[in-house]
Subunit: 158 residues, 2 copies
DNA sequence: TATGAAACACACTGAGT
DNA sequence: ACTCAGTGTGTTTCATA
């Protein structure tokens, strides 16, 4: 059993709905209905089910960090000291600069993404984690692929 | 000049609007208007301006990779061979599995995030990049901080 | 810029197929 | 599971301040 797709996504009409919604997440239900050639209540029901079942996790307003005065993005990898693992998780969850934190395999146990007002705010971030482990920091210079979504079943590479 | 905030965000009413919108990006304009104590057309105009000026980049439907049959998330760091830098960018942009790719400082030049149907699809991904450089792969085991947004000026750590 | 009123479009419900 | 039709709400434009 290689492919474990959500049952709702075996219906191509749901996939088509998601494709439209990815293109424009604020498209109205009636507009979606028109483009799909079905009635609005139908679209409404399918959408509701996709959300209930967790295929659509949530809708997000993507703000520009630079406009918010946070032009510097960094990745920090952290190798915890013995017994400090949960401290790092706590800290990452507490700091608003941290927008993502993942537990990963490999020599480092965590990787996190953070947004800063300037490079001179980096030490402030790092210092807090240094209490619990070693850190390796990478500053983002540019983003050739910029947080595009997960691919839909249709055009997916096998 | 440390803080370089977007001019629109010096108006606290815009910040309040964004805060509501972050809480629920599909909140209707009239609902926003009610909660802010202004008229609907006003909210509509402010929202339009925030989008025009790029403070709000876009609205995103966040799909669950697992539901799409892509339960494995990996980070791959790549250290390019001489002259292969642009090849790596091209490849990252071409592969639908790759949802993010950043140029970074440090020993590796790139870090990318990818979503896979299974661990047995990892070699397929890595092999393509190995043509242009060395790779270091980390598999995501869990996500203590799960892609929350960038913090607004209000509650921000200085 | 903000507003109120009016025209229009949309969301949602319930009954019927 | 879809559609149709009805009701109430939301959106959008415009004239005005």
């Amino acid at each position: 059993m290689r492919i474990m797709l959500h049952p709702l996504l075996t219906d191509p009409r749901n996939v088509a709905l998601l494709k439209l919604l990815l293109g424009n997440p604020r498209m109205s239900i009636s507009e979606l209905a028109r483009q799909l050639g079905v009635s609005a209540p139908t679209v409404r029901e399918r959408l509701a089910r996709l959300q209930e079942r967790g295929v659509i996790r949530r809708f997000v307003a993507d703000l520009d960090p630079q406009a918010l005065g946070l032009p510097v993005t960094v990745f920090v990898r952290i190798r915890p000291m013995a017994g400090k693992l949960s401290k790092i998780i706590e800290l990452a969850q507490t700091l608003p600069q941290v927008s993502e934190c993942h537990r990963i395999t490999g020599e480092d146990c965590f990787i996190l993404k953070a947004h800063l007002a300037g490079l001179d705010r980096l030490d402030e971030l790092i210092d807090q984690f240094l209490a619990y482990g070693q850190t390796t920091t990478s500053i983002v210079q540019s983003s050739p692929v910029h947080a595009r979504g997960v691919p839909l079943p249709q055009g997916r590479v096998r």
